[in-house]
Amino acid sequence: MTLSNTLDHWMDMLHASAQDCAQTMLACSNWSVRPMGSLLPEGMAGAYVPLVGEELKLQIGIVADSEGCTALAKDFLGTPEVSEADMVDALNEIANMIAGGVKNRAFDRQIGLKIGLPLFLEGYIHITNSVVIETSEIRVGNTAAFLMLIHSSNESSLAD
């Protein structure tokens, strides 16, 4: 199986997990996803969660602009206003939940995935030759955001 095939499979699991989260805990019936290839969104903030197995190291991220992060946090917490600390906590939890959904969907692969601690970051990601990134634009209601899958460009690291 080629790297792009395996990436597609992981992206499918990522999309399914994120949609599940949006439609349940963000109470959003209006959901869409648009694959953007290796496009690197700029000027974004968001949460990243590592998914690590014996032969696999992934980072799963959900990022948006400042207004998008606040809107996602408000939808998630069900409150009209959120503090910056609550926004960060909410985005971390959303990313954690999406990563959990990917792990559950990958369970039959028997690759012993473990979820690491979420990290909230603002700024630009510098991609090197040893890293592959896949991005999808999502719309959660009226909010635009991006899902990101970052992993080593070493094909065997996808454990397929």
């Binding site: 989260c21 349940t24 805990m25 917490l77 069900g78 939890e93 954690n96 959990g100 792990k103 559950n104």
Partner: protein, 124 residues
């Protein structure tokens, strides 16, 4: 009814609290702890009627909290709300004495229905 919510994420505690207070459990006392160690202290001081815990937490995980309560012969109903719901974890939870494991994401309705199924019926 007294609930103890154990989760290192304040966001998740806020959501569970909202789900409970917007349901037939409105009026319940809701205690909060950030990890298993804090939960044990709270349980000693004010015996809750139900414990709802995350699995992965710093200091002491929800699973270790469950085992610790088992050693103490606790009879407080205990359930997990966690991001991971693999068959292995469900087996461990059941073996340890947990009544339920709700894997995120979930709706308010799913959460409340599960709590109602396992609540001590003489309390509500």
């Amino acid at each position: 009814m007294v609930f103890l919510l154990v989760d290192d994420s304040r966001a998740m505690r806020m959501i569970l609290k909202r789900y409970l207070t917007q349901s037939k459990f409105d009026g319940s006392t809701i205690l909060e702890a950030e990890n298993g160690v804090m939960a044990l202290q709270i349980i000693e001081q004010s015996k809750p009627d139900m414990i709802i815990a995350d699995w992965n937490m710093p200091e002491m995980s929800g699973y270790d909290l469950l085992l610790e309560l088992g050693k103490k012969k606790s009879s407080i109903p205990f359930g997990f709300v966690t991001s991971e719901g693999t068959p292995e974890m469900r087996q461990l939870a059941e073996k340890g004495g947990a009544l339920f494991l709700i894997a995120k994401p979930f709706t308010q309705e799913m959460f409340i229905q599960t709590i109602m199924r396992y609540q001590p019926h003489d309390l509500v």
